[in-house]
Amino acid sequence: MQKEMAYSFPDEVLKHVFSFIQSDKDRNAVSLVCKSWYEIERWCRRKVFIGNCYAVSPRMVIRRFPEVRSIELKGKPHFADFNLVPDGWGGYVLQWIAEMAGAYPWLGEIRLKRMVVTDESLELIAKSFKNFKVLVLFSCEGFSTDGLAAIAASCKNLRELDLRESEVDDLSGHWLAQFPETCTSLVSLNISCLGSDEVSFSALERLVDRCPNLRSLQLNRAVTLDKIANILRRAPQLVDFGTGNYAAELQPDVFSNLAGAFSSCKELKSLSGFWDVVPAYLPALYSICPRLTSLNLSYATIQSPDLIKLVSHCPRLQRLLVLDYVEDSGLEELASSCKDLQELRVFPSDPFGVEPNVSLTEQGLVAVSLGCPKLQSVLYFCRRMSNAALVTIAQNCPNLTRFRLCIIEPKTPDYLTLDPLDAGFGAIVEHCKDLRRLSLSGLLTDHVFEYIGTYGKKLEMLSVAFAGDSDLGLHHVLSGCESLRKLEIRDCPFGDKALLANAAKLETMRSLWMSSCAVSFGACKLLGQKMPKLNVEVIDETEPPDSRPESYPVDKLYIYKSVAGPRFDMPPFVWSMDEAVKILH
């Protein structure tokens, strides 16, 4: 009787029910119920997320999900952000586009992160997908404004073009003029990463004019302050706005024009940009500050008093990105004014200076933890920390989901006691039971990893640098952290033992990165041999790893699970430990 239940609904009904199920996890669960549900589900899955573009091949995705409309791909490992992954490593999107061009004529959305996107790829997108709506290139590189021109010209119903933090070869600003007069569909445009002085401002103005649904616009640094008012008056419906550079000689008419333009934007909730800020122009924002929920001042080189004044006008602030010019005093003000704060990121203004240039210490973060009970996400660069402060922060903010602390000098101990910071980070993982992401810094022994393995049951991503004493540290993490998906480690004395003892764990994770550690070439080969579901890649730019003894440590190691087997696009400085590939390499 029970078996028949599964077949008692016609496919169409199941399909309709499944259409309400959006999350990947749930969809994956649905597909495991029985063969017929697997079949129905795969035909109606419209959105695919691939966290590692090498974990699966385009062909495999297309074979299983023939009717995809939206795809998201991630390429390089996170440490590529800090120049640890050599150029040419990989992450090319072209093959994906080429295969999808044939298989998914109705593909409407492509979101890429840390991938290499050439003009050829962009031209192919423009040519192949008649219903293309959304292109997000987050931290990508390899393309120029020529490729953007192709997108602008061909995509008649483009809704979203977001180039955040990408590296674009800026050949000319005229690509903006390629948007046809008939294009009125833009909802979101982020060109903040463009370097050129040549963004065709008049083309931009006309574009903004004819897109009544534009909600999100981020200009680039080249757009001057006096132009902001023109743009805002054409788009008073904006919810999210990024200025260009925010500097000009103080002139009363420019100021009042700007203030008036801002105040006419009744929906504006989020601001960013603010390169080269002249503090005298900040009061132009005061009329919208009460509505602001997100403020990115991380390029604004303004001092604490000006920051304090601004922030004290923003009681609804939920998200603040700022430079350490804010200082402890500014953070104390933040703590008393912004009770809704959920996310705080404090970046260093002088990361390579040896002496502190600002008075920002652990006190600022402690103050925020005390004053902002909703705090969930922290990224904090500072020069000193104590276990006591970390314990206080942990106790004040048990709801933290992301905690990334960077004490600028590696291996800095507790400045009060000179102890390692094991107990402090231990308190964080112990009290913050929903912690999903953690980045460590300072002086740390194997003990901190014991805490992490014991308490970090929901931890999904861990970043470690200059920490630990022995393989025991790594073993604690690999054996204890049940939810671990991404682990990235640099300059730690972790070697073969923990890795080999926990090899099976690696198949449950997305990826592991280890650089400047003590993992031997022999261990890498062994892993490659014994674990066919893993791709084990050794990166070495100076010489082939097999030109040295097997016990010699490898420079960089990247291990990830994959059903696609070893990749075909490895550059000469990447070696696959897969047996079959080695023979051919």
């Binding site: 390899g142 014991t454 003892a501 003590a518």
Partner: protein
């Protein structure tokens, strides 16, 4: 907490060496700590963006000064570039150009500041892309090779690498391209 007991590594299946032997010998190898201490000194060492690492390449055993650890603190380049230029030597002040080679599916980036002259640059390019550039002469360009190093200058013209004095080259080079010999003919003709 005695976690040491958990780490019963002898019982694991995966190990180096034959069953029944211990891996004592592996233990005695010095693990690499900061890379500079173990790397051989090579002029093309700076594939990564640490401009000063190869300034140290002559002093093989000198430890890296602390301001110059690659990728630390963990800040993205576009953020670093947006801050005011600082006096400290290091990652911000290099001259980075992209390098492509016809037929190779990948791009590389190098810092021209790191090289003292054309010889070093060419050696680095040859090692990076695994080719030989051949002999350079002013009159005939590169002889005896399939591949020719060229560059695009500030005016958008494509020139042969080596045609102008080194200083002028580093100031005007926007990107490098290693062309297939047949395409490079006629480049950098004498004015």
């Amino acid at each position: 907490m005695a976690f040491e007991k958990d780490l019963n590594l002898d019982a694991t299946e995966l190990r180096l060496g034959l069953p029944g032997t211990s891996d004592e010998s592996a233990k005695n190898q010095t693990p690499a700590t900061l890379r500079s201490n173990n790397k051989r000194a090579l002029p093309e060492e700076s594939m990564s963006s640490n401009a000063t690492a190869s300034k140290n390449c002559d002093q093989e055993t000198a430890p890296l000064p602390k301001a110059q650890v690659i990728g630390w603190p963990p800040i993205r380049s576009y953020r670093k570039n947006n801050l005011q230029p600082k006096k400290s030597e290091g990652e911000i002040s290099g001259i980075y150009v992209k390098v492509s080679m016809d037929g190779a599916p990948y791009l590389r980036k190098i810092d021209l500041k790191v090289f003292k002259g054309y010889q070093e640059l060419l050696k680095a390019l040859e090692d990076m892309f695994k080719f030989k550039a051949g002999e350079y002469s002013e009159r005939e360009g590169y002889n005896g090779s399939e591949f020719v190093p060229t560059y695009e200058d500030k005016d958008g013209d494509w020139m042969l690498v080596g045609d102008v004095p080194w200083e002028m080259f580093t100031n005007s080079c926007k990107k490098l391209r290693i062309m297939k010999g047949s395409e490079a003919r006629g480049l950098g003709c004498v004015v």
